[in-house]
Symmetry: C2
Subunit: 327 residues, 2 copies
Amino acid sequence: MKKIINQPENIIEEMLSGIVHSYPELVHRVADSRVIAKNTTNKQVGLISGGGSGHEPAHAGFVGDGMLSAAVLGDVFTSPTPDQIEIAIENADQGQGVLLIVKNYTGDILNFEMAKELAEMNGIATEIVVVDDDIAVEDSTYTAGKRGVAGTILVHKILGDAAGHGANLATLKELGDRIVAATKTIGVALKAATVPEVGKPGFTLSENEIEFGVGIHGEPGYRREKLQPSKDLAKELISKLLAAYEQKPKEIGVLVNGMGGTPLMEQFIFINDVLQLLTKEAIHVSFHKVGNYMTSIDMQGLSLTFIDLADHSWQKALSSPVSTISW
Amino acid sequence: MKKIINQPENIIEEMLSGIVHSYPELVHRVADSRVIAKNTTNKQVGLISGGGSGHEPAHAGFVGDGMLSAAVLGDVFTSPTPDQIEIAIENADQGQGVLLIVKNYTGDILNFEMAKELAEMNGIATEIVVVDDDIAVEDSTYTAGKRGVAGTILVHKILGDAAGHGANLATLKELGDRIVAATKTIGVALKAATVPEVGKPGFTLSENEIEFGVGIHGEPGYRREKLQPSKDLAKELISKLLAAYEQKPKEIGVLVNGMGGTPLMEQFIFINDVLQLLTKEAIHVSFHKVGNYMTSIDMQGLSLTFIDLADHSWQKALSSPVSTISW
């Protein structure tokens, strides 16, 4: 394993310190916690997210005005504990309640639900939006149902915009569930990630092999195959995504998300193929985003997310300015 | 070679198309060219940059209000041709001349100088700022003198701010030369990049080996050694950078730049070590930036850039808002 780290057992502490000291104008660490919070406080519903580390810039990179109030970091690929999540909730609450945006993994769901109970015992109203946008497989290594992946970033953005405009907790919960239903993601991996504490890749693909539908913790996908041209990958992923909608969307947003080890060059070539194919499908793309947003440490590969933008206000919400490290 | 591409000979065309179609609200392609220009035109000195591709998001990601007027893309690791640079100059000129920001590689210098001559024959005043921030080695595979690397992004930013505030061509040229003199970079590589047309890594490091001072095209550095903890790498790179200043700076900006294949987790751990060591040196850091800005395709490694911020207006210029894809 070749990584620029010190002791593997200290990576979360050091990374967290690196983030807050690099962007002191935007975020800070809540004392004695693994919570990164924004510096400003606004009278609005608090939005928090989090999960295992290793998906940087998610979620700390999306803390700031117009997106998340705070993010809570677990160990690598491991849910944060309920007490840490509760600290994030307490920090985010401005008297109007807190919405928890949680990727659908069994450990995360359990811990965020426990934190919700703790918060409610302390008089803070909370709701949970569970993101399960990965359409590759039903149930997985760490998940009942579908996994939550890169589409979570779009959920952060639209909810962040709505919360900033004064939406209340019940409205945000209902909106969040609708955004999740409209958001579908599927990925492809060329090479597995190496968790620092483990020291070797989580799975092995041969020199010419790729895997469709791999999860962001290296969970198995649905097919291994010989590496194909970008155009053919785009064709397969698009057809899977469109088939997952009950009704074929007319207008969508597209997110191409790099997994951490895939350069922008490939991501831009891939989205070029995606956009050309969507033109042929007569689907209008009114929002685009390309880059590393929900990574799997150093995995090589990418994911493709569609969001149905039938509700035009979502397009506007996706495009509004924010003050975060990484949006 | 495992890459998400189609035919290697089409990657520039397809990447360029992917960039402009993903960010149509910010940039467009100048017809029949390899020039990406911003959509707005302002009455100011034009700023252009460019060079070989493979360093994404540089330079197209820095085109927009407050930074570059246009970027011109060469083949992978190959200078753009003078006629293409001349198209960028013509496009960027608003009657007040155009400043060319060029990384110090022999091919780039030659071609940008020829384009400058062409532009002047067409009545456009031009100046060139040559960036040679890489202090690792004197002269290199493609360079006489020092190489131009990630510090170029900071030059774009401060000059972009000054041009937007109405600085004239002579002022920008003089300012640019001063910024370059204040900007020093040094890098370390864990694994070489693979150029798609070549199909294999540009050099080989053994399983535990790193190379100090590698260039962004895989040019040789100054020492190979066993992989060290992040803290020790930080110590070495800082001491080299500080030694390159005639006078030890009191206040600096710090850029940690990922080379394309190194995850943010490692970059944040590394900057955490850098910032702790600089505190011990009693050097104040008033600007920070972490991420993939000047990459070498999928190289694993990073570079560290310092900019002396004795002139406080530069700190302000680095922090002003811009409308670009990637700053």
